[in-house]
Amino acid sequence: MAEADRGQLSLTMVEAGIGVLLLFAATATFALGLPAVGADEAQLDAYAEDAGTVLSREPPRHEGLTRLSEVTRSGSAFERERAALSHRVERILPGNLMYRVVTPHGAVGFPRPPDAPTGRATVPTVGGRVTIWVWYA
């Protein structure tokens, strides 16, 4: 009698439990979430691209073809222009952005964070590639 009682009760509950689990499985696929839109990275890429375009079309301060080709000419030209370059990039970019500009002769700006979303643009110049990284401060 005791066995029969146990058997009857648990069977229905086990069925219900399995049903609930199945429903939760379906729910979980919705609750897992969707991949990020990537709008942040796209915006950061646009910032970097714009900064590269503006810099690459600017006249040089002393010699060379443009402002960017001036800093890639030689190590001494880079040393001479580094303060002016970082000042200029800071002026061009909106205030909530940090940046790093890497040239063949050295880099200006801040150390790049390893885990934050960043935008990147590369501008080829006569002295090598200049890469601009930007990220939200």
Binding site: Q8, A39, R57, P59
Partner: protein
Amino acid sequence: MTEGRAQANLLSLAVALTALVSATALGLVVADGALASADREPGERRGAGALAERLVSAEATTVRQNVLDRSAISELSAADVDALAPPVANRSVRVRLGGKTLLERGDPTGGATVERVVLVAERTTRSRSLAVGDGGELTLPRRTDRVELTFGSESGVETVRANGRVLLHDPGGVTGQFVVEPSRYETTTLSFAGGTARVVVESTPLQTEKATLRVTVDG
């Protein structure tokens, strides 16, 4: 005993049904939320991206890539925006430059926003009149890509050079009005040879300032 079994069955049936119905309801709520958040309005983002890209590169609104022409951009109209970027047609749109709203159609609340870094350029005119002799030189104070030279009718100047390159030459004397286009990447020195003349030099250097272009598209 059979009654007891039946009662127990009925009770557990009720519990099971309640559990299943609540699990189903929860699942529907979560699914509805997921579907609502999956609607990312790609049309808005595309419109905002396309309009911002066209504004910073189109000939109509810029001096060169990423350098906006202040007079052209301040007269931007809704029809211009639709012509520049067709995806924006029939949507609410707002274009802001720096802190100023250039154009607003409808009332975009939320929606997609794209920001671009630009320079805003304004042409300024610097005019000076001077008498030049053979071998006379003039260094333009600001770099420019457009210089207008007006020579008097008594001009004896035969050749005009910019940084050594010949711009104008006439063995009988250069007279009249000319527009020359030196490189804007270097400082220009004009030199005059061949005789004396009265000349008006009008240069139009670009003055630029930085700004942020903000395009919001909604609906």
